[in-house]
Symmetry: C2
Subunit: 490 residues, 2 copies
Amino acid sequence: MLCLKNFVRRVSGFKSKEVEKLIPQLEQLLGSNNVKTSDASRQQHSHDEGHFLYLNIFRGELPDVVVLPKSVNEVSSIAKLCNDHRVSIIPFGTGTGLEGGVNAIHGGVSLDLMLMDKIVSVNAEDFTCTVQPGVTRKKLNSFLKNSGLWFAVELLVPCLDPGADASICGMAATCASGTNAVRYGTMLTNVLNLEVVLPNGEILNTRGKGRRPRKSAAGYNLTELFVGSEGTLGVITEATVRLHAYPSFISAAVCNFPTVYDAVNAVVAVLQCSVPVARIEFMDQLQVAASNKFSHLEIKELPSVFLEFHGCSEDDVKNQAELVGSICQDFKGGEFTWSHLPEERDKLWTARHNALYAVLATKRDSRCFCTDVCVPISHLADVITNTRKDIDESGVFGTIVGHVGDGNFHCMFPVDEQNKDEMKRVWGLSNRLVERALAVGGSCTGEHGVGLGKREYIKKEFGDEGITAMRAIKKAFDPNGIMNPGKIFL
Amino acid sequence: MLCLKNFVRRVSGFKSKEVEKLIPQLEQLLGSNNVKTSDASRQQHSHDEGHFLYLNIFRGELPDVVVLPKSVNEVSSIAKLCNDHRVSIIPFGTGTGLEGGVNAIHGGVSLDLMLMDKIVSVNAEDFTCTVQPGVTRKKLNSFLKNSGLWFAVELLVPCLDPGADASICGMAATCASGTNAVRYGTMLTNVLNLEVVLPNGEILNTRGKGRRPRKSAAGYNLTELFVGSEGTLGVITEATVRLHAYPSFISAAVCNFPTVYDAVNAVVAVLQCSVPVARIEFMDQLQVAASNKFSHLEIKELPSVFLEFHGCSEDDVKNQAELVGSICQDFKGGEFTWSHLPEERDKLWTARHNALYAVLATKRDSRCFCTDVCVPISHLADVITNTRKDIDESGVFGTIVGHVGDGNFHCMFPVDEQNKDEMKRVWGLSNRLVERALAVGGSCTGEHGVGLGKREYIKKEFGDEGITAMRAIKKAFDPNGIMNPGKIFL
């Protein structure tokens, strides 16, 4: 239970009394309506969608106050005030993360950014747009609907709440990616510029104010430094991101394989053949079984690969699918079903779309414990096979799904968080999964972030020198340690 | 002459005497053969291929000593020694940069890394390889020839010496990109991990030792911080980079347009249609004229676009070319010539391949003054048109070529560096070009780096807060300021 032992530790120096003194000043700054101290507000801002809530470990670890700024200048004033009084700030967006990144484990000020919800600009010719933190991925893509463009970083699974939807700035903060990363990249490659309020109240534009060149070789890459920094260096108040041409034509395909090895070998061969595949998703046999039951499908209960192709003509997406189909046959692939017709495509992908709900449906009143790792593709089949074996032997039900083109996969467990024995076994599985990934040159998280859940592994992943370097950066930007304390580092 | 006034300033604290004392210790460390103090060695390591050499401003600004380590441990020992004695280190690779990034303007130790020239590993299934600093792009791609893979960041123009070839680690240090970036990304997206020797001698692996996941959401993005840091934070001693599937089929095309506006509008339309174009290169009419003369071609002397398509079948690359051809016609494109046959493709691209030599051939004994900027594509036609006008009015001959799909372009001037009036006019053009790029939200350099040549603009590009943030990082990693002093920042 390595992951749990440090959770209840409190850092001294962040005291409720100090925050209490700030409240009148915060009210003066923001208006009393936007400074909330009710239990309901604090409770709502005490956690994300991750399993830390369900474990109840942080029950009572609420932020002292929730503030809702309406502008970057208000965020700057809040930061200055908090920095002067050594009060911690926890940036809060949609609260749809999975690793406890917004949990207020040391109290402090929860900075809810959702009132800043403007799409500041869309520059269609430049394939860029600029958004405030309250703009979610769905809202942006809905706004772009008739422009021929889209924001291509798409999370298919993570949100446990079916209505939930991550914010673009939150996705930048956690270095999110998703199903399209194999073609369109992750947040790391899709963020061009960030406006960030530093702990001392300074407003930094990581690529210079208003700049949006598609590339640059000038100065240090501050943008990429803030992407994935999980609110520990500053507050992201605006993001300029890349847009992509919305594909003119789409085709989708499904194929199953006798073993995980065959499936992964086929994926590697597909990646080697210059087909610009848009999505390559994997599901293990237990996930297929759960999805069959939930969605009334009859997919063979074998490791399966779901593919999507984006192209410039009907022929293009047909050809991509047919070529990949023939490659799959070379690797013992079963029937390769594909279509470019929207309703058939949707049907083919039903299992993948509903994967999470299928898992939850296996167990009444369960919540999903979902974790992720990323490994070099050459080790993917081994790691998935050994993980499958580990889950089977544990007596816990769990499935494996993943973005196999990137070597990134998730384990999903439908858990009863009151069942201590089950939770212990799930944590054990999660820990061993990470150890397995780290042992083959992988990472403890491909897209969820570190938050609270993966802090134990950072030292092992990066070594002492890596942690020293990161801490030096943290100290340079946040000498008083007020920004989202307790996250990423132990 | 904004760019020149600070060049001759010397920073106190780095004195030859201090270096002299180190020489016996360096000889003991590396063997006397690998510690060079001859004028020839120091002269050779005093500059890159950029125009600073030709301006003769730094004549006499030689490194005090040139050292050639053979291992990361030797680099570490050198760093420790230099750091203890406050002696500066200037990492030196192939010396093929263009902005004076390796120039030893304050003396010190020139650290030539070319003896460390191993291709450490190629992981074909993972599409990655790891190389030492002495491995050049051409050497790596020659090694990969029969693997079906290639390292896709390709510099078509920059080297002024026809035999020259940049090192992968040097390209990482300067955030290089080139002609394929529109499809395959820049060094920023192609570097997965770096081994870096910090000024104190510590060996840092930016993504953790031996790790090579295709993506990760763990910890700060140290890799991207070191990419483009131009040797000011540490010495890159190993790089793990992405490889791509070598395209099974390639087609190429050329099309000219009545105006730059038509050409750029066509490019935007092409980017909007989901064709995964591999290269979109622009040449203005003067470059076409120079190339016609040099390569005995008969291309219409109009703004021209050169395209390359990579695909998984002959049909695929045919279709891509034909679709783009029809789009070009919609934007007043002239004859759209294309081919998928290797010899015809090469012929079509002859003009682009020989652009630099064509420019040099316009003026006997000239050297090329080459500069670059990057602008949002929506401003590209304006900026190119105004730059063309500015060059025409200056009385200096110069051409414009560029990676138009990224908004990145170069101006090339064949100069006589002894002609002070001409050099003054060229610097004036270069300065106004940068001002024009910065005024429309662009960057002072898209792929050459800052080095000495663009230091004046960094503050304007990033603002005070950006510079403060970068300096804080510099101080955190290099508190004694020994790493490549005088570069990036003024």
